[in-house]
């Protein structure tokens, strides 16, 4: 009985969380402009969505910025994590604190500080500034995904590689990087999702007609309801859901391989933690 009540409570919270999304998705198939009325099933909004030049070009920008910034942030962030893992004392503390800064700062503060920098340095606001800003806020999340993997490593692994004849760069490339690959991939995916999800920082660092999907949604939503947004929501939600399932299956498979089995759920929470800090 108590168990039933407990479960019901959580299901109610789930209902609260999922209801708006469900409503969005249902109405994306509604052949009527007014929300309250069900005008029959249609795919009209999806067709219009794909014909909408503004949305399509912002989709392109979002993906381009997302992929590029995620890759660059992953490279810099992974190297940084290895460096941080091997540094000590004040140096390590200082770097970690600065790393946490963009994670803990309100997004709007990070956003305006970057905007000031770009205007101050006379960089024209546009693709370049958008890309630089996204890389900047992505790097800390890559570092925070890779660092735990480094901590889990057998501390003699690097030495074992040297012992077997590797030079230092070889040991890094042939042993350390492959061993922490799961963390690197998590970081990459996290960076990509954060980048496509971002609104506030993009809003302040973009210029002259270059819009990300989030910015386009914001300007459309400010003008009121638009069924094309519903269609877009449905597609994005499905996409995110697929991505999450892939990530989780991958994680589950990795756990099956033996190591860290019992830490599985914790690992998940950690990457969620990282995801949430910035929102």
């Amino acid at each position: 009985m108590v168990r039933f009540l407990k479960r019901s409570y959580v299901y109610l919270v789930f209902a609260f969380l999922y209801m708006p999304i469900a409503v969005l998705m249902v109405y994306s198939f509604n052949d009527s402009r007014s929300r309250g009325v069900w005008g029959g099933f249609t795919l009209r909004w999806y067709v219009e969505l794909f014909q909408d030049r503004t949305i399509m070009s912002s989709l392109y920008s979002t993906l381009f910025i997302g992929v590029t910034s995620a890759i660059i942030a992953t490279i810099i962030g992974t190297l940084a994590a290895i460096g941080i893992h091997n540094s000590r004392g004040i140096q390590k503390k200082l770097i970690m604190n600065v790393t946490y800064l963009p994670v803990l700062n309100p997004e709007i503060v990070t956003a305006i500080s970057l905007m000031i920098l770009f205007v101050f340095a006379r960089v024209r606001l546009g693709y370049l500034t958008l890309l630089l800003a996204h890389i900047t806020f992505n790097i800390p999340y890559v570092i925070l995904s890779v660092l735990p993997k480094l901590r889990q490593l057998n501390k003699h692994l690097y030495e074992a590689a040297l012992d077997l004849g590797c030079t230092q760069p070889q040991a890094l490339w042939k042993v350390i990087i492959p061993e922490i690959m799961p963390g690197i991939i998590t970081g990459l995916l996290l960076a990509f999702t954060l980048s496509i999800d971002d609104f506030v920082i993009s809003f302040f660092t973009t210029g002259s007609g270059i819009n990300t999907l989030s910015i386009t949604i914001y300007s459309m939503a400010r003008r009121g309801i638009n069924p094309k947004i519903n269609a877009l929501s449905t597609i994005m939600f499905t996409f995110v859901l697929l991505l999450l399932i892939i990530v989780n299956v991958r994680q589950a498979r990795e756990e099956k391989k033996g190591r860290n089995g019992k830490h599985g759920s914790k690992k998940q929470i950690d990457s969620f933690d990282a995801r949430f800090g910035g929102a």
Partner: protein, 273 residues
């Protein structure tokens, strides 16, 4: 070699994190003159004008209300999820997190559809021949939007702390004669405090600085601190004042982090808190 790997990041970090922070400080503490700029606290002085104090008051009030609601709704949920009511905890946790991966703007936009004059709620009410509710573009809608968006920030840290509590401790308390209520107030809740503090901070800070929720669900009638900063930079062009408000925000963050680390004491290894 391993040390060199830090170089790109240190350069990047300096250029795009440290320098911008100093620029914000510079703009906050100077005012433009004909020949350049001069040091001044004027930007901070303006913050204490009644209209801006009212904005600050409103922001704090809405953020506190949202945080309290999140705590009241979230703590029991975290407790149930950390307990043994569900056999497949991972799935429950995942289900809880999935909505959060949806674009933030779309999540907020979804409430437009629901709360609107001709929206889902009002159509339902009309079908039941009840009077309309005009929630959209009120403070209540803004609070609702905040609670909806930030609830997981409250639940996850509490869940994470609760699920780490040694079951033996709870059993020991029971064994020593505490009833369920006293076990909770004397043992479980005190142990979960670090999670509560994290959760409160993680809801309070974004609630205080958001400008999207208030703009979309408040219809722009309820200027919050976030909106104020946005206006200074994108509409008014008063960078000095905008930076000063940002500096105040950073101070708020540092204070709350200090409080947090006071409560947490040791162990700062877990991702972000």
């Amino acid at each position: 070699m391993k040390r060199f790997s830090l170089f790109p990041y240190v350069i990047w970090m300096t250029l795009f994190i440290v320098v911008p922070m100093f620029l914000v400080l510079y703009y906050a503490f100077t005012i433009p003159t004909e020949t350049g700029a001069t040091w001044s606290l004027e930007n901070f002085g303006r913050f204490f004008e009644p209209i801006y104090l009212r904005v600050l008051g409103r922001s704090l009030r809405l953020a506190v209300i949202s945080t309290v609601i999140c705590l009241i709704l979230g703590y029991p949920a975290a407790m149930v999820m950390a307990g043994n009511a569900f056999t497949r905890k991972n799935v429950i946790l995942l289900l809880f997190v999935v909505p959060m991966w949806m674009n933030f703007l779309l999540r907020t936009y979804a409430w437009l559809t629901i709360l609107e004059r001709n929206g889902v709620i009002n159509v339902l009410l009309a079908n039941l021949s009840l009077p309309r509710l005009n929630i959209l573009y009120t403070e209540a809608a803004v609070v609702l939007g905040m609670v909806y968006n930030f609830l997981p920030f409250m639940v996850l840290p509490i869940y994470s702390v609760l699920s780490k509590i040694d079951k033996g401790v709870v059993e020991a308390a029971g064994d020593l004669g505490a009833n369920a209520f006293r076990v909770f107030t004397k043992v479980v809740f005190p142990l979960s405090l670090p999670g509560v503090v994290s959760g409160v901070t993680m809801v309070f800070m974004p609630a205080l600085t958001t400008f999207v929720i208030s703009r979309l669900l408040g219809g722009g009638q309820f200027t919050l601190i976030g909106n104020l900063i946005e206006q200074q930079f994108l509409v008014v062009g008063d960078w000095g004042f905008g930076s000063a408000i940002s500096v105040v925000m950073i101070v708020f963050i540092l204070l709350s982090m200090a409080i947090m680390s006071f409560f947490e004491g040791e162990e700062k290894d877990v991702a972000l808190w």
